[in-house]
Symmetry: C3
Subunit: 324 residues, 3 copies
């Protein structure tokens, strides 16, 4: 397939949002300026009319209550409405053998934009290629991309650090399979002088290929073996869940050990975190962050990181769908 | 768990609504005054803006089309919007092992309130404890509580009788397992001089413990054995379905006999009901009320009792979420 | 059942919409005039308030993402809101044995109209009979009726041809089982001097009974045996999918041959279609139209035919629910 989504180049209106590759640092800067304003809109008593009269179809082939809820709330915070299509593959038309292309053509007739979630990488691109009139927004396509997740992670870091370059970060957990890890590394590679320490069980290390790729794209990567080697006062920690559903059979037997090999708890935070180190997690967590630090102001995974997801999506929808 | 939801004490704004225990007669009176006004809003041609700009997440772990529809319509009648999350336990994050607390924290980031339905008693309280910013409203948690159901039953009685004290009622059917029966008795015990006649198959009598509890809390309870003993001209009849799913094995064998042991039909209504006796049922019914009396003006189970559910929920949401 | 839905007779307000039989050519003309205006509303930057403050319950016992999306978008394009009830038969109340009549009575208490989809013919009529206060709109009940599908097909023809009489059409595919074929023939029989050529595998011919019925109601029907006999320059082609799920066992064995016995492709279009012949399909298609003609301006199945579905539904909802 020769189709590639267009670069943003400062112009969001009407564009498909399929991949982080479409964004330059300047595009991200435009988006994040608006994201900051969205916070005000979301908490304003007065309803917004930014998307009033607009209909966004949420076409979720794979259930994801979190992303579904975040996109749905984003549209509605801005005064728009959604048409919610969950699991269309068990709905009649698709189950009767309809192609994805036809499904997209039908739903674009009913909506101003389509947000698509699918389990198969590349699906969002196929959808974008099929759509003739309305923009397609990728809400995660399997091991492919989930650009708004990466953008919310980047926004959360920028909000706290005031910048996206010259940062020191720590990424921990399932670095082999975690899509968010790969995407965030890609995002950080758009900026200069970033250093990321990588900590994971041997079986779940970043692949050599990826290590090479991200290193050569400008992020300094340093693999470490234990919590002891975590640098003092990093700008951010990015902890992740071991992706049980993607483990190799031999690793799966060892899952119970792997999943909580590295845990964030009070002890670790006291020893290694600086006063401004933010503690992030893409969620869901299943034991790798002890709830005892949930109320620590540096722990953002259940607070600003989640809310920023909605603000980033509000800003993006607003730019892509704006009337003027 | 030491957490207890706050008493209303005349102030609804921002409070979790978990249990009828939070309400005093004065609170109920405030709520019911507004409930009456909601009728006008619902039938007004002009759209309401009471909840405009507000998002209420309907987080239903257990399907209940009736309660889901009633809450959804309540929000929308007031100009608000909902984010509908059905069966999140089969959605990815929860199925990956996420705790209820984390799920609540995530969804509160997207909404102004969360309405939760769950099959396990006590879940709404856990949700309320987890939420940091937005009120939790219990839409039924198993054999636990379903406060808006009780409030709508009380409102229906008050609307017709003009009061909630000095009433004579009849409760019939599965008095052992019916949650609505227990809750309504609790509600009536907040007021003085109420008498309730109890009629049920032997296997489905109110437990001795409950009989004792409600008697000592002020409701006069009188067990009767047959329809003949139903008092003339009671203020209300409250008929209920035999809860097949909760029967003991020995009773289950006898289900076909039990379920229609006591039936409301024209004959019974003519013999026992007064001109103003209202005939209630929490629905669904499966044979215990003959459709031949559906159009009797005293039969409110398919008319005002259902609509009052929406008005009570509108009033409650309005009080809990009001901007001013 | 003696209940029959009322004829429209120029007055849509408050009426159930169950069957095409309710419509006279004059009613269709009123509807289509408004349908044309709806296009402007849908693409207007300003939100419509035609249904503002109105709630439409979408009660779908059978999944149909296409019809669900089209009705949902129609309501929301007009500023109304929906309560989405999918698969209520697995939701508690219905699964506990509640009758359809009771379910309808409950949901009408929450809404200004109910759109119902069901797999069993006749269900929409039963629903209409049960409802006391709000109109019921049939969104397809099995092999029964799906009036808005027929209306959108008729509108698509009228939009392109400027009339609904004196037309020459071709209907191809599963003429035995396709509901849309039967309904469109019924619709065309309301007008004069229409001729329809019928092309299908022997096993899937229009039944003799139906051939007789439609012939005597005024449409001239001509059965043909091969693509060669398709008349030059017909006004419309209406291609349909072989309904695998309804094939007789002996035909099912032959499904792979049957399903693509007659295919629209560039070759056929060049040989047989006129400059203004429109190519229609009710969708989904599973091979009977080659995607190579999707971009042909005469191919309307993925463009105006789909969008007209939304416009017709907007117009119908607007007429049935109008405040004034």
């Amino acid at each position: 397939m020769s189709f590639e989504p267009q670069k943003i180049n400062g112009k969001f209106k009407g564009k498909d949002i399929i991949s982080l590759d479409q964004f330059s640092p300047k595009d991200i800067s435009i988006l994040f300026k608006l994201t900051k304003k969205m916070k005000t809109i979301a908490y304003n008593a007065k309803p917004s009319s930014v998307l009033s009269g607009k209909i966004v179809t949420l076409l979720f082939y794979e259930p994801s209550s979190r992303t579904f809820g975040s996109f749905g709330a984003s549209v509605k915070q801005l005064g728009g409405q959604t048409v919610d299509i969950l699991n269309p593959q068990v709905f009649s038309s698709v189950s009767k053998g309809e192609s994805l292309e036809d499904t997209i053509r039908v739903f674009e007739a009913y909506s101003d934009a389509i947000v698509i979630r699918h389990s198969v990488a590349g699906t969002a691109k196929i959808a974008a290629q099929a759509a003739k009139f309305v923009p397609i927004i990728n809400a995660g396509d399997g091991v492919g991309e989930h650009p708004t997740q990466t953008l919310l992670d980047l926004y959360t870091i920028q909000e706290k650090e005031g910048k996206l370059d010259s940062l020191t970060g720590v990424m921990v957990g399932d670095l082999l399979n975690g899509r968010t890890v790969h995407s965030l590394l890609k995002g950080l590679s758009l900026y200069k002088k970033n250093t990321v320490y990588l900590l994971s069980p041997d079986e779940l290390k970043l692949s050599k290929e990826d290590f090479q790729k991200f290193s050569s794209s400008g992020v300094k990567l340093i693999e470490i073996e234990s919590e002891k080697e975590i640098p003092q006062d990093a700008n951010f920690w990015y902890w992740t869940r071991v992706q049980k559903e993607r483990l190799q059979p031999q690793s799966l037997k060892n899952y119970e050990n792997l999943k909580t090999r590295f845990i964030v708890n009070k002890d670790l935070v006291e020893k290694k975190a600086g006063k401004k180190t933010i503690i992030m997690h893409p969620l869901p967590r299943v034991g790798e962050i002890d709830p005892e630090i949930d109320e620590d102001p540096r722990a953002v995974y259940l607070s600003s990181q989640v809310r920023n997801g909605m603000y980033v999506r509000m800003a993006l929808l607003s730019l892509v769908l704006k009337s003027s």
